[in-house]
Amino acid sequence: MRRSWVPVAVLWLGYTVLMMWAVAQFNWLPEQWAIEAEVVDEAMVLLQYLGAPVMALVLAVMTWALIAWRSNGANRPDGPPQRDNRTVLTTWLIVTSALAIFVVINPGFVGLAEIRGEPSADYVIEVEAAQFFWKVTYPNGTESFDELVVPSERRVRYDVTSVDVNHSFWIPAFRIKIDAVAGLTTQAFATAEHEGGIDDDINLRIQCAELCGAGHASMAMPVRVVSDQEFNEYIETLGEGE
């Protein structure tokens, strides 16, 4: 019988190394503007590393099948009659279960705790969605319809709601998202890290991420991160304008 374990194992190792190298080498993710983004991206990268050997295994078998196991014609001799292999099946079950348990714990629960676990916040900003615009209300009661300004290095809680259909409050640069549902107040937390605006990164925007009707695609609002002091000054002057 031809030995297939060896070449498949070599291919598997090769693909795994290649993919892990690619994960380490290239960053597919957008720039991080908040601590939450780091948590999410870390999880993304970890899952890519974990996925690499799994993917590599199947690819290795496929590759070797294409190279070495070809035969021609309906009347070719049968393959070996192996119906089962207890060791392989058990190992497979143990490994896949272990992987599943592992990812449930980390990044699963660990990430969940880091993003949503801590209820305290330095500021609360209210966000109201409507077809098809956003309204933000700052802690001092001032409102804005055209820009969300947030302080850096402060944990902000967003209390999100909707006045009509469902929308979703998403700031890609922060990697946070929570639906806006009429009749409910949902919450998201984010701690912005450095200052910047939509001109620095298109992902510094609130983007509606739940289909809400004709204007859904254009239901976005720029986000600007400023220092804590500037933030307080900004909301003061916003109030004076009224």
Binding site: D78, A100, I115, V165, W170, V181
Partner: protein
């Protein structure tokens, strides 16, 4: 050598039944469209009656939603009566014997036939047509998305096209493999002459055209723009086309449930002598497990849509924005629609594993574990629905359990991969089109599975939910898992169904083309999603222009590949070389009878004596055919039966059923 390779091998003579039906001249079709025409006429009359009735009772105009509902129901009844319901069911109610269509010509595909093979083909052709229409919608979307800004369609129309594309494709993926091949192949694989409830089977199929007409007719009422998911409250307040969506999908639920009942009962009660559960071909197991699932959960989607409909027309407020219960809609919806993704892919698993054993000439690896995995998926899939709601605002304490259960389902799904790999392992792989498609399937589903982990994990899903990452992921699972299997199955069973061989070169070319083009279309979209492009949008920031231009270009190449598929199928069905009963030298029952099979499938009674895939096992036999007992009275043949029925002009091609 090449000659040998291409000439279909005859099966191991002793077990094959090759009836000589092929030599008879083809019967001519006589007025083949009269049933469909009568259906259309009665549907129109029904619609008019419904409109008149509803307006007489409460006034209003024909486009009022309540009027549309009444008219739809009346039209549906008219249609069913017209296409053959009067003969198949109505006659029984007045004490006469029911009749069904037994037209021997191709006209039978346009009548109320109860032959599961005819019904399978009816499903197959109808759903491939729907797939192509949905594909056209996809092409329009990709053209619009080729560059940022509003181009060929405006933003709202884009939403409507997304919704139409989504729901048509979901219907194809749910009913494609099961409707076409579940119907055609399952009864033969279990050694039965037909389904358990043949008339119900026909009824289920004839409910399908109204679904397509209802959906495609929705633009007349302003179409629906709430996505295929129809989330309330948007689906409560949008244009009236949503009503047609609701009615069509409730009807479609009926198709699913009736079809599922038939498969469940057929597999439980009609297996041939000796066909124990442990000898059941894996495709039949897949169809059976899927049917259990479809039978259990389909009513939830229908139920949710009934509530939406009531909110719209009778002023209830299940999902009214003020009361904040729109999460309820999502819970009920996903209670169906998560299992639905398994309704789409389990039959695909069955197809792919089935044909892999054939082309690897090896037993199915870990057969029992695969069956356990199917049943495990069926069980688990009804308790993971809320993983679609991690950002919905549902209570935080629900996140943990649903994440655990979701990760748990990856274990049975992993077994499918193991079985596939184990079956390929050191096999004698014969790369015909179905196996090439199976390799494409394996690659796609692998990517679909790996990217699914990112969506099951809450931290990453919070970012990725409702982005193009999800769009790419579910295309990899649904198109890669279900539609690729549907295409593979079309090639695999083509010689059985048509008696002819498709063109192998064009088939392989198509398989490679569709796999490559598909991957080029959707790989860049993972990147777009991760980098902040949300879904269901007709316009996007310039930052994503590159990925989208690439995807749109590849999508057109992908779309074009289907011309090759359709050509190969149509041309080969008419002009292809004769295939013989068993061109793949396979073992399950459908390959032991002639191609195409005789009317009642088996000329002699099949007796199953062994496992279905014991390739390489010395002297193994799956089934043989018992010679008829000379003492028993001869069974009437088809000719005898149709000769009895000559009473009315209507019944020229009808057969009585008891």
């Amino acid at each position: 050598m090449t000659m040998l390779e291409d000439s279909p091998a005859q099966s191991t003579g002793s077990t094959a039944q090759d009836s000589s039906t092929e030599t008879k001249p083809r019967p001519k079709a006589r007025r083949p469209f009269r049933w469909v025409l009568r259906g259309v006429v009665l549907a129109i009359i029904g619609w008019a009656t419904g409109v008149a009735l509803a307006i007489a009772i409460r006034g209003g105009s024909p486009t009022d939603e309540i009027v549309v509902i009444v008219a739809y129901v009346f039209a549906l009844i008219g249609w069913l009566a017209g296409v053959g319901g009067i003969e198949a069911f109505g006659r029984q109610w007045i004490g006469k014997k029911p009749q069904v269509n037994t037209d021997p010509s191709w006209g039978r595909y346009f009548g109320f036939s109860i032959d599961h093979k005819v019904i399978g083909i009816q499903y197959g052709v109808t759903l491939i047509a729907v797939l192509l229409i949905g594909g056209l919608a996809a092409m329009i979307m990709r053209i619009e998305l080729a560059s940022p800004g509003v181009g060929v369609v405006d933003l709202d129309d884009f939403n409507k096209i997304v919704s139409m594309h989504g729901i048509l494709m979901v219907a194809v993926a749910v009913a494609g493999v099961l409707g076409a091949f579940g119907n055609y192949v399952v009864p033969i694989q279990v050694g039965a002459q037909d389904m358990a409830f043949p008339r119900i089977n026909a009824l289920a199929f004839w409910l399908l055209p109204p679904v397509a007409v209802g959906l495609l007719g929705a633009p007349l009422l302003g179409s629906f723009n709430a996505g295929w998911t129809a989330y309330a409250p948007l689906s409560v307040v949008n244009e009236s086309g949503q009503i047609l969506f609701n009615m069509a999908i409730i009807t479609f639920g009926l198709v699913s449930i009736l079809g599922a009942i038939n498969i469940i009962v057929t597999v439980i009660t009609m297996r041939a002598k000796g066909l124990t559960w442990g000898r059941l071909p894996i495709f039949t197991w897949a169809a059976f497990s899927t049917s259990l699932l479809a039978f259990t959960v389909t009513q939830f989607f229908a139920g949710a849509l009934v509530l939406v409909t009531m909110d719209r027309v009778v002023g209830t407020s299940f999902f009214a924005p003020e009361v904040g219960t729109s999460l309820l809609y999502q819970h009920i919806f996903w209670f169906y629609s998560h299992p639905a993704v398994y309704i789409m892919v389990i039959p695909g698993f069955g197809v792919i594993l089935e044909l892999t054993t054939t082309f690897a000439r090896k037993p199915l690896f870990a057969y029992k574990a695969v069956v356990a995995a199917f049943l495990g998926i069926v069980g688990l899939s009804v308790v993971v629905w809320a993983h679609h709601m991690f950002t919905s605002g549902m209570a935080d304490f629900l996140h943990g359990p649903f994440m655990i259960l979701t990760e748990a389902i990856s274990i049975p799904t992993g077994i499918i991969f193991l079985s596939m790999i184990g079956t390929l392992w050191q096999g004698a792989l014969w790369f015909r089109t179905p196996l090439v498609m199976a390799f494409g399937w394996l690659f796609n589903f692998l990517i679909g599975g790996i990217t699914g982990i990112f969506l099951a994990d809450i931290a990453t899903d919070i970012h990725l939910h409702d982005t193009y990452f999800v769009v790419a992921h579910f295309h990899y699972t649904i198109v890669g898992g279900a539609i690729f299997a549907l295409l593979a199955a079309s090639f695999y069973w083509f010689p059985k169904i048509t008696g002819r061989m498709y063109n192998e070169k064009l088939g392989t070319l198509f398989a490679i083309w569709v796999t490559v083009a598909f991957n080029l279309t959707f790989i860049p979209l993972f990147w777009a999603g991760m980098n902040g492009m949300n879904r269901r949008i007709g316009d996007y920031p310039d930052a994503y222009a590159g990925a989208n231009r690439f995807a749109s270009f590849a999508a057109l190449i992908l779309g074009a590949s289907f011309l090759l598929f359709v050509w190969n199928m149509l041309y080969s069905a008419i002009r292809g070389p004769k295939a013989g009963p068993n061109p793949w030298n396979a073992r399950t029952l459908e390959w032991l009878i002639s191609s195409p099979p005789p009317t009642h499938n088996f000329v002699k009674e099949p007796v199953v004596v062994g496992a279905p895939y014991d390739y390489g096992v010395e002297g193994s036999v799956h089934a043989y055919f018992k010679d008829p007992d000379p003492a028993a009275p001869p069974e009437p043949t088809t000719e005898d039966v149709s000769a009895e029925v000559q009473d009315e002009a209507l019944a020229e091609s009808q057969e009585e059923v008891s």
